[in-house]
């Protein structure tokens, strides 16, 4: 089930969680980060001061797992940035890509070498739009932690505080989808749903053990039907699309005032908004219709921020030129359409038409099932273009689910492509990843082998699955 169903997230008011945040989170503004009268973060005698965000709050504790120097040779290698090497070599050591190239690329002696003949290598697949952990399996009411649907703007909530690391969905995304990094977003009930978190797709006892070191935050925003329905049905603003824009603009104006007020009391929501206005926090904007995306782009110019990606964007193909000129990615499905009014004009050619215009394409899932097959979804979108003579190379299609996603998430300097010095997030496929008949055979994250289809003990099993029917089964 898609998490584009804000009613799924009728979470009870998390009063205690919000209270805890107020004590622990900190400002990004550098000027309004005080809870008491102390300044500069220094602890004065008798004063209580919360840590600043820049000092590290909820910091990642992820460390690459032990890995051995490994090479894959003889495979078809898609580098994630549009290149392909036949019979290529990928060499990883110390968690990084150390070398890659053609068949004559030297491979040191005494390292693990996998014969890749007939197989394919890609960077780890990246999903820019997931709700794993926030809407985990089993999808019971008690687990519906993805929408703080109690106010139309909740920029103060952080998706990472809802992530349940025992969600079995993480392991399916790894084993069947080759997903090595993913962005967990709040849902779309709210105009401003809260901060996202980017995770390494490694099993962990804590969210912090998955948190992608150095990944920027994003703020999830939502256009259209969901916010106006959720709040309009409660007799409060917004109940219309014009109401959506009005509430957004008022909220941005208040954030600008906050940023300019040296004496303002700390405000978690506004700290996030100011982070966006300063370019430190990205915007991931759920938006289906072309006309609404155009409105959002003008609102962003009015307030002084940038949109990294429009998510779902089923009508992006109508404004590929505008999206290209504004440097905005479209994170889209291949074939979802017609399930809600604003998805009525979904077509299979969306990605291909965007590519034709030179706009940035990302294929996303928003779904615990589709995240296991982003490669297949991308292939569908590619085929739709080819039928119209829009011939998009395989290597470019792989870029839609690797480097383009990483760029729109702000992690492209670290991962998303196979380049020397980048994280060794690598998938070895047992065949062409753009074919329905292929599956990941091995997946490395930071050079550590985290899934091996040939070794049953290398299938992660979450705590929830222990002692249950099918524990450790192929899934």
């Amino acid at each position: 089930m898609s998490a584009d169903t804000p009613w799924r997230g009728r979470a009870a008011l998390l009063a205690t969680l919000v209270g805890a945040l107020a004590l622990s989170a900190c400002a990004t503004t550098g000027s309004a980060g005080d809870t008491a009268s102390a300044s500069g973060g220094a602890k004065e005698e008798g004063k209580l001061v919360a840590k600043r965000e820049s000092e590290g709050v909820f910091p990642s504790t992820y460390k690459p797992y032990p890995n051995v120097a490994t090479a894959i040779r003889g495979a078809t290698v898609y580098d994630g940035k549009g290149g392909v090497i036949e019979g290529g070599v990928v060499f990883m050591a110390g968690g990084k890509i150390v070398a890659m190239g053609g068949p004559d690329t030297p491979i040191p002696a005494d390292i693990a070498v996998f014969e890749g003949k007939g197989k394919f290598v890609t960077p780890g697949i990246i999903d820019i739009h997931s709700h794993l952990g926030d809407y985990p399996s089993p999808g019971v009411e008690a687990h519906a932690d993805g929408n703080e649907a109690t106010a139309p703007t909740t920029p103060e909530v952080w998706a990472e505080h809802s992530v349940w690391p025992q969600d079995p969905g993480f392991s399916r995304a790894l084993a069947n989808g080759g997903v090595t990094a993913l962005q967990i977003l709040p849902g779309s009930a709210n105009l401003m749903g809260g901060r996202s978190v980017t995770l390494k797709n490694v099993p962990s006892r804590t969210m912090q053990g998955m948190k992608f070191p150095g990944a920027p935050y994003s703020l999830k925003m939502a256009c259209g039907e969901n916010p106006k329905r959720v709040y309009g049905s409660r007799g409060r603003m917004p109940s219309t699309r014009m109401g959506n824009l009005a509430v957004n603009r008022e909220t941005w104006l208040a954030a600008i005032d906050y940023a300019n007020d040296k004496d303002a009391k700390r405000d978690l929501g506004k700290e996030t908004l100011v982070g966006v206005l300063k370019g430190e926090i990205l915007i991931q904007n759920h938006c289906y219709r072309a006309d609404e995306m155009a409105l959002v782009l003008d609102m962003a110019k009015e307030m002084g921020y940038r949109v990294a990606a429009f998510h779902h964007a089923v009508e992006a193909y109508k404004i590929g030129d505008l999206l290209r000129d504004n440097g905005v990615c479209s994170a889209i499905w291949a074939d979802w359409y017609g399930f809600k009014m604003e998805s009525y004009d979904g077509i299979l050619e969306n990605a291909a038409f965007l590519q034709r215009e030179g706009a940035c394409v990302v294929i996303h899932s928003d779904d615990a099932n589709d995240i296991q097959r982003l490669n297949q979804e991308a292939a569908k979108a590619q085929a739709a273009g080819l039928r119209l003579g829009i011939d998009i190379p395989d290597a470019t299609v792989i870029q839609w689910i690797t480097l383009n996603a990483a760029k729109a998430m702000g992690i492209d300097r670290m991962t998303g492509s196979l380049e020397i010095g980048k994280m060794a997030d690598v998938v070895l496929w047992n065949g062409d990843p753009l074919s329905v008949y292929s599956r990941p055979e091995k997946v490395w994250i930071d050079g550590a082998l985290m899934f091996d289809a040939l070794n049953p003990k290398m299938r992660p099993v979450s705590d929830f699955e222990l002692g249950q029917p099918g524990e450790g089964d192929v899934k």
Binding site: K318, G320, L388, G470, V474
Partner: protein
């Protein structure tokens, strides 16, 4: 033409003169019969008067003025058969006004008849025809009781007579969903089912004279006397009973119903944990419309979920079709079947060989739907539903180039193709896009 046109639509037949069925011969095909066999190179299929008269390896020519199409080696298959769907019952599922899939406010449940509500020119029907689906089982879903109502078999040609067989099956939910509808527990669902079947049994042979009063709770009617009458064909085995269940224990409980009601013609729908009781299902001879790629414990009744479910059931001897209702939309049937083929290459997994996987979205669902030998298969006497594809029909990205239903070539235009054609470029230098059509 609807040779299997059933009771309910006789009135509709007056609405439009049936178009003449066409003859068509397709040669030089990579021919898939749909019966589980592997593709035939250089195959030929001959359709006359809307029926298949030949499908096989030899090159034969059609008779009379039949159009002859050289497929030039392209894949040619029977039309896909999608089950269970809601095609034709909603324009936009989240737009309530357009949605006839559920009816939480009605006092009726089992009496609901999907055939009365099918919109043959629904965009979903047109879009799915363009995806190679030519026939479908379509049904309302449970919304006020454990009984969903009576599903129909439809064709997707968009003409005035979509219903091939009305009231082909009754569908109920006996898992978590049914428990919720029945008042809150599985025990309540089973009690309601037994009460309903007992009432239906009492009506058998009495010309459906109402003998029962409604079973209700508060303002909610769980079973009206009209619903009880609608269950007479179920209890007498003249109408199939599709039972949606996932948990191993729930499946066992369904199979046990046969001991109390021996005439029930049962079909399991979903059966996520079916692999855990595969031999029992096989022994009972109950077919399964199985979830194909569900591999998450999305509910507590799906803890054992694995993509190998369908393959393991088939290996145990169960007749297995792929359930269209658990995918984003039924046009993903081909992708799901292709993934089952992919599993054959994965250590520890159980998938299906190509021919069996294709059959699971063509002839097998047709057989389960009572259209064995008629739909989802190319053999003499079958309906002339034939699809020519751009490539391997189980590969993502393959789509039909031509679709024939009852031997008549179909127009594959729909809202999506028109949008595609309009936005083939963004040039508005002369006039806005609204003039481009």
């Amino acid at each position: 033409m609807k040779r299997l046109l059933a009771l309910a639509v006789s009135g509709l037949a007056l609405a439009a003169a049936p178009a003449l069925a066409q003859d068509v011969t397709i040669t030089n095909a990579r021919l898939v019969l749909g019966d589980g066999s592997e593709p035939i190179a250089g195959g030929t299929v001959v359709v006359q008067a809307g029926k298949v008269v030949y499908a096989g390896p030899e090159a034969r020519t059609g008779q009379g003025n039949a159009a002859v199409i050289d497929a030039r080696g392209a894949w040619v298959t029977p039309g896909l058969f999608a089950t269970v769907t809601t095609l034709g019952l909603a324009d936009v599922s989240a737009v309530d006004e357009s949605n006839d899939i559920t009816a939480g406010g009605t006092p009726f449940s089992a009496a609901l008849d999907a055939a009365t509500a099918i919109n043959p020119t629904s965009q979903h029907i047109l879009v799915h025809k363009a995806a190679g689906i030519t026939r479908a089982a379509t049904a309302t879903l449970p919304s006020g009781s454990i009984f969903a109502g009576q599903g129909a078999i439809i064709d997707l040609d968009g003409d005035a007579q979509p219903v091939v067989q009305a009231r082909a099956f009754q569908m109920i939910n006996l898992g978590e969903g049914g428990a919720a509808e029945a008042g809150g527990s599985r025990a309540a669902a089973h009690a309601l089912l037994r009460a309903a079947l007992r009432e239906a049994q009492a009506l058998v042979g009495k010309n459906a004279i109402p003998q029962t009063t409604a079973i209700d709770k508060g303002d909610a009617v769980l079973l009206s006397r009209f619903d009880a009458e609608a269950l007479v064909p179920v209890v007498t085995g003249r109408q199939k009973l599709y039972v949606a269940v996932d948990r191993m224990a729930d499946i066992r409980a369904v199979l046990a119903l046969k001991q109390e009601y021996p005439k029930l013609d049962l079909v399991l729908v979903g059966a996520t944990e079916g692999w855990l009781v595969a031999s029992d299902i096989a022994a009972a001879g109950v077919p399964v419309i199985a979830n194909g790629l569900v591999d998450l414990p999305e509910t507590f009744e799906q803890l054992g979920a694995t993509q190998s479910n369908a393959g393991r059931l088939a290996r145990a001897g169960v007749k297995v079709a792929i359930n269209a209702s658990t995918m984003q939309n039924p046009r993903r049937l081909q992708q799901v079947a292709g993934n089952l083929v992919a599993l054959t290459r994965m250590p520890g997994a159980t998938g299906m060989e190509w021919g069996r996987a294709f059959a699971a979205i063509s002839s097998v669902p047709a057989e389960i739907s009572g259209m064995g030998g008629k739909a989802g298969v190319l053999k003499p006497g079958a309906l002339g539903d034939v699809v020519i594809w751009t490539g391997d029909p189980l590969e993502v990205g393959s789509v039909p180039t031509r679709v024939f239903i009852d031997g008549r070539e179909q127009d594959l235009t729909n809202h999506q193709t028109r949008l595609r054609d309009r936005y083939i470029d963004l040039d508005e230098s002369d006039r806005p896009k609204a003039y481009d059509w």
